[in-house]
């Protein structure tokens, strides 16, 4: 017979005793210095938080930065490409890249800002793994990647209007105008099964 599970201990209202971790500037970090040495005006800012380095670079230089990281700093593995929509900020989007190095056994995060309508150079030619991630970012945010071999929507369907992960896209969705079989399922949904006037499609 199972005893009653004990209530979680100390899940109460106590605030953590030690101070929260704070972000620190990482301008002097060797990786950042190496990027700055190779591409002088690429790095805009660098930050460190909880042991993870974040480098903000200029949008036009992102492909060059990626190539530098891959070839010179041995960040051979592109973990992820995604974006964040800062609605009221200029530039609106942050395109975020994560890279991992096997020899260093560590990751680096590279960000670049992209305004509405601006295209970001694609790194799909540098890292093959970024192909679908960039397609997903285009699909979800509407950020174009110039030079991408096949920039199509991936998670939504062709004909979908709008970019779902933008902050102004409502959670309930919008009428995307891509009705399928409109003669059977009109906009707003089909008829109720108990409606005697419904058209029966056999």
């Amino acid at each position: 017979m199972a005893e009653e599970p004990k209530p979680p201990a100390a899940a109460g209202h106590a605030e953590p005793a030690k101070p929260k971790p704070a972000a620190a500037d990482a301008a002097g970090h060797p990786w950042v210095a190496s990027i700055r040495a190779a591409l002088p005006d690429a790095v805009v800012a660098a930050k460190e938080f909880a042991g993870q380095i974040t480098v903000t670079v200029a949008r036009e230089q992102i492909a060059a930065v990626a190539r530098h990281l891959k070839e010179k700093e041995d960040f051979g593995y592109c973990v992820d490409v995604t974006a964040v929509d800062w609605k009221k900020r200029e530039p609106r989007f942050d395109v975020v890249y994560h890279f991992y190095s096997f020899s260093k056994n560590d990751r680096i995060r590279v960000k670049c800002g992209a305004a509405e309508g601006e295209a970001v150079p694609s790194i799909a030619n540098v890292y093959l793994a970024a192909n679908w991630s960039e397609r997903e970012t285009w699909d979800m945010f509407g950020i174009r990647f110039s030079g991408h071999p096949d920039l199509r929507r991936i998670l939504t369907w062709e004909g979908f209007h709008g970019h779902p992960l933008r902050k102004d896209f409502p959670l309930e969705g919008i009428d995307t105008g891509a009705a399928i079989y409109p003669e059977e399922w009109p906009e707003g949904g089909g008829p109720s099964p108990t409606d005697p006037n419904r058209k029966v499609v056999s």
């Binding site: 199972a2 100390a10 899940a11 938080f49 973990v79 992820d80 964040v84 990751r107 793994a129």
Partner: protein, 411 residues
């Protein structure tokens, strides 16, 4: 073979039926009524010309991998091009994360990789715990590792069974699911759910273990190596199995790194990289286990690596059960979780590869952006490269060997 007397109404009807047929997963012929043939020369194609046919490996097919559509261009049996079309299971999970508080997001992660829900929960909780800098107590760490490894066993058992059935070996499926039933019983006893577990909380665990759970789990993992021997006896040295898997879908180590493939795929290609070893989380750094590595990178090697991983999971569970001690199951976490306005990336080694969460917080109790890096999504990118040149019969083996779960691919 174009017929000039086709009326516009017939053209529309043909187009309508063609679109419905395409949606229903039936092949479109190369030159249908109303199409103009690509080459307007009058010579018929010879036997040696490549006759390209486009097929739909439709969203529903007998392999139990979920709703995945692959558009195949084939020449007879040989695949010229395989283009996956995903998104059938897209549910907007990342958008939902932004509208709910942090603890409310954990059940959503269950539904992503629904075969290995505990690792999803774990990755999510790790990300938030890193933001908050919360320490998870030792007992909770050990139990988390046990749940993770049980989940790895469960996921690999599903993979083994379905891979076997796809290639015609019907029996390992039943054996694997017999073991999996027992694992799911353990989960049900612990957190009440078999599949969508919601079994971790930020800072620790929701519940403590019930009486006898540890003893029964000990018995179970003592039995398991013999059962894994059963599966191996049916498949590993079977000549037909080897013929179907050796040399199929070969990936070199460089290709794996280039394509961002992780998990058993990269380990079967010779790179000994496992997040549990390279960047240990919870208490993995003190556990004694081996990361199985093979050199050839074909489907057979990925099979062997996963079976060896099952054996190593058994070892890990046993070690954790031996070390388990009394203690708290949740660390000191504030009542309302409001991480500092920073961003973090945390990842775990899920059965399918590196599962990571990238979390951007704006200081409120809801994430501003919570992005999941799903291993199945990234691994599936390599399918066109893998499938090219193989036969249609091999495509099923390849989908099985990449081990995708569509919930994770589409989120």
């Amino acid at each position: 073979m174009s017929d000039e007397k086709i009326s516009q109404a017939e053209r529309d009807e043909a187009a309508h039926f063609a679109s419905r047929a395409a949606a229903a997963g039936v092949a479109r012929p190369l030159a249908g009524k109303g199409d103009t043939p690509a080459s307007s020369s009058a010579e018929p194609p010879t036997l040696f010309d490549v006759q390209e046919m486009e097929l739909n490996f439709g969203p529903q097919h007998p392999s139990t991998h979920g709703v995945l559509r692959i558009v195949l261009k084939v020449d007879g049996e040989k695949i010229l091009q395989a283009i996956p079309d995903v998104g059938y299971l897209h549910r907007g999970t990342e958008k939902l994360f932004e509208t709910e508080t942090y603890p409310m997001g954990i059940p959503h992660t269950d539904r992503m990789d629904y075969v290995a829900a505990a690792t999803n929960n774990h990755a999510f909780c790790l990300a938030v715990e890193k933001l908050l800098d919360v320490e998870v107590p030792r007992r909770a760490q050990l139990i988390r590792v046990i749940l993770d490894e049980l989940q790895r066993l469960s996921s690999h058992l599903v993979w083994l069974g379905t891979s076997g059935i796809d290639l015609g070996a019907v029996t390992p499926f039943w054996y694997a699911f017999r073991e999996r039933e027992q694992i799911l019983d353990f989960f049900e006893e612990y957190c009440g759910a078999r599949l969508t577990l919601n079994c971790m909380r930020i800072g620790g665990l929701p519940f403590d273990l019930t009486t006898g759970w540890i003893e029964r789990l000990f018995e179970f993992v003592d039995d398991l190596p013999a059962r894994i021997d059963d599966y191996e006896q049916l498949l590993t040295d079977n000549r037909i199995w080897k013929k179907r898997t050796v040399g199929i879908g070969v990936l070199t180590a460089a290709e794996c790194i280039e394509w961002g493939l992780t998990g058993p795929i990269i380990r079967a290609s010779g790179v000994e990289w496992d997040l549990r070893r390279a960047q240990p989380y919870e208490c993995y750094d003190e556990l004694d286990f081996v990361v199985p590595v093979r050199q050839n990178g074909d489907t057979y090697d990925r099979y062997v690596v996963r079976v060896q991983e099952m054996r190593q999971s058994v070892r890990i569970i046993r070690q954790c059960l031996e070390r388990i001690e009394a203690g708290d199951i949740r660390g000191k976490v504030p009542r309302v979780i409001k991480p500092p306005a920073e961003e973090i990336y945390a990842s775990v080694e899920s059965p399918k590869g590196e599962l990571g969460f990238y979390c951007v917080s704006n200081g409120t109790n809801r994430p501003y952006r919570m992005h999941c890096r799903p291993p199945s999504f990234i691994n599936l990118q390599a399918l066109p490269k893998l499938a090219k040149g193989h036969l249609i019969s091999d495509l099923v083996a390849l989908i099985g060997t990449i081990d995708i779960v569509l919930g994770e691919v589409d989120r």
